[in-house]
Symmetry: C2
Subunit: 473 residues, 2 copies
């Protein structure tokens, strides 16, 4: 622009002058987060976004413009003459004017508008969100293609994006290599039956695309273990699938999981340390980088919920101690609490409360409850495996992990018992060639967000929830 | 450790002395990248990893230990007395000793071993990789569970991890919000037939899990467009699926795509600028952070390949100009080059060469070649849409993008023509409520890696390739 002006200057005085004036008057395009920062007071700017509120008064018109760059909207003050019936909640606008100090404490900057252009209108009768109403999470969930236009859900999406950054940062800073483990897989990892099957939509000549049955991954663990034979620290972070036919507030058919695997472990402590560090570090990162968005949840969406992981001391109990605690409690449980039974959500919630409403590690679960890859503790009579769960307030199980059976003979014997040794011959190879003690864990990313924000329903912390009987958009 | 020693000190002099000596002698556990850095010369350390070479000589034994933290291995020098028949290529070891300056320029640090412990052996007869052999990418591809143990593929995985970081960093620094677009979807975006269908493996009572037909995503674009109604900059980066029944070196059934969407665009330049910036920034980041790993490829794996994006000037031609160039060339093409025909790989490669072997943008494709969402340029007689592809040397199409039709009437008319208006009524809603000019693009992440590294076969730049008739592990 300045080059063009300079060039014209040499042609004629008049022409140069008009172009120069044009250059100086072209308003700088700012994002809302930049405009409200206060760094551009006095500047002539252009801001684009969607209206979050419209308040016409006698002499002036007040608008709040938001473009998703922050929770805070930019207050626009305009002469009433600039009002237009198309300026309604949800409409898209482009406003030019001058940034001024505002007399209001809450929004120290406002835009004094010279011009308001309606880019896209929004019929207030048809638009499902209404002026001055605080819609519930349940209500906005009915509009998966529009709910990002509410304050609450746009805050959630910014928090989710920042929490993703936090997870990657933690692993990067700690020397982990990120592995893109596959979504389509021919193994089912846990031996669980709740799998989605994948096939071509229109199969040519009835042929199978992959020649073998193919499923959506339920865990990247076995693929990470492949990498654990060459990298001492690896992780993966991506979508994971369970075809659980449940309408619960705790389950999704497609959810995000953070999984890590560490080689040359000595004990479960090598895992719990990483789990605790990552949990703390990601929580602190989110609280520090999304203060306003988290505050919106804690004040208006889930009032009363607080989180301060820095102050938390994480407790650790063995499964056997946990069973003792449950059996000595006065609470009646719906599910049995005999040694050997799996811990149910009611038990987990009790344990968290019992330990002072802080995160709790439960270690060394009964051997028979754990999948073939869990490392045998070789104890008796109560035979356990080196597995660990992290339980957190409000959510229950947040992470699950274990040391993996690295001893070829023990692993082979267990696979032979279940007739799986041929299916997993490649997995046995990992123990045949340079096997090392190792272990890992998975963290449910949505549950992590629920834990921080106090959100009760898991469908409210993911952009496009998929669950039994629902796959909208 | 020091606390324990101090505690014991007060009990008896003898005990304290032995514990103190133990404390001071406990070797620090270092990763190989830390050990070779030169920052710990003279220190007593413990290093764990896998053997990449074993060279017994008369008086001394030389080992190279690698733990995946860097391409460079740590050279271990030991007295021949420490040799053990189990010290073979691929075995896992733990070595303690003292870090010394090495007389060799190539590896300025070496570990003088006191003790070598074989953690996991590796039978050299059964292990598919052999001493002193440089195995081809084709050969190692046969062992998807072991190939990460070769130098070439572990370098690739570190580069891939760092390139992922580079992509996220670029978008974060430029104010984009990351959206986790869904893998399972009920829409097919492009209207292409090459879809994977998703169903429960063991269906209960023959009921469909989602009530509607569900597919694996072929693009996150439409879901990003949902977000473009509230965030002016969004992106997604994750697995994408095509059931292409092809054994080509260019296609995978599961691949990674980077997709971005920008609101309030004025022209295609708003997109090409982001595409170019991201391409440059990610390339520079990888070259700067993975110099040794990239060097391995350029020297030994794909000799002769070089990349220097900083020096590149990106060219831009319209589709119509591209057709003129092709029709004036002396080269004979297998596919027709009439206006209205799609550009084939042979055409794209010619165009890239014609422009001086640099990345080339091709813009404004025939309207009829583009999907319903591409923005109508409303020109004639050659009717075009505001779409753009980025072609790069060696690879061909790296990115594809377009402005999206934001005008409700035009979009509705086009959907009506194809009878899709009911299916996409939610998509039309996005234009009903606060519609804004916007556009976006997708970049094939594997093709980006191929472009940097000069790797010919796409199966060699992804951890677990999935393609027609192949879903190993």
């Amino acid at each position: 622009m300045f080059q063009a002006a300079a060039k014209t200057l040499s042609l004629s005085r008049g022409a140069s002058f008009s172009i120069r004036r044009y250059c100086f008057k072209t308003p700088a395009k700012l994002r809302v987060s930049e405009a409200v920062s206060g760094a551009h007071l006095g500047a002539n700017v252009k801001v684009q976004g969607w209206l979050r509120s419209v308040r016409p008064q006698k002499a002036n018109l007040f608008l709040h413009v938001n473009d998703g760059s922050a929770l805070q909207s930019l207050q626009v003050v305009a002469s009433s003459e600039l009002n237009d019936p198309l300026l309604t909640l949800g409409s898209a606008v482009e406003v030019t004017g001058t940034l001024r100090k505002s007399p209001h404490q809450k929004q120290p900057v406002e835009l004094e508008a010279d011009q308001i252009h309606v880019v896209g209108d929004c019929n207030p009768v048809d638009f499902p969100f209404k002026k001055k109403e605080r819609h519930s999470l349940e209500y906005i969930r009915q509009f998966p293609h529009l709910r990002c236009r509410t304050n609450a859900f746009s805050s959630l999406l910014r928090i989710r994006s920042e929490a993703t950054t936090a997870v990657h940062s933690y692993f990067k800073e700690n020397g982990f290599v990120q592995i893109h483990t596959p979504v389509i897989t021919s193994n089912d990892c846990e031996g669980a039956g709740e799998l989605f099957r994948v096939e071509v939509s229109v199969s040519s000549k009835g042929e199978k695309f992959f020649s073998v049955p193919a499923f959506l991954t339920v865990s990247g663990q076995l693929h990470l273990e492949v990498m654990s034979g060459a990298f001492s620290r690896v992780y993966t972070f991506g979508p994971t699938f369970r075809a659980e036919n449940s309408q619960s507030r705790r389950h999704l058919a497609e959810f995000y999981m953070v999984e890590a695997e560490v080689s040359f472990t000595q004990s479960l402590e090598d895992l719990t340390k990483v789990m605790e560090d990552m949990f703390r570090s990601a929580t602190e990162h989110v609280l520090a980088h999304c203060a306003a968005d988290v505050d919106l949840f804690h004040k208006h969406v889930t009032p009363g919920h607080r989180v301060s992981p820095q102050g938390h001391l994480l407790f650790g109990v063995t499964y056997s101690e946990a069973i003792d605690i449950l059996n000595h409690s006065s609470q009646k449980f719906a599910f049995p609490t005999d040694w050997g039974c799996d811990l149910q959500t009611e038990h987990e919630k009790y344990l968290v409360k019992h330990c002072g409403n802080v995160p709790v590690f439960v270690t060394d679960y009964p051997y028979d409850l754990k999948p073939f890859y869990a490392r045998d503790n070789q104890d008796h009579p109560k035979h356990t495996a080196a597995a660990v769960d992290l339980l957190v307030p409000g959510v229950g199980e947040l992470c699950g992990g274990s040391l993996r059976e690295e001893r070829l003979d023990l692993l082979r014997a267990r696979l032979e018992e279940t007739g799986l040794e041929d299916t997993y011959s490649w997995y046995l190879d990992l123990r045949r060639f340079g096997s090392v003690p190792h272990g890992g864990f998975g963290l449910g990313f949505e549950r992590f967000l629920q834990c921080i924000l106090g959100v009760d329903n898991i469908k409210d912390v993911i952009a496009f929830p998929r669950f039994s009987h629902s796959c909208l958009l």
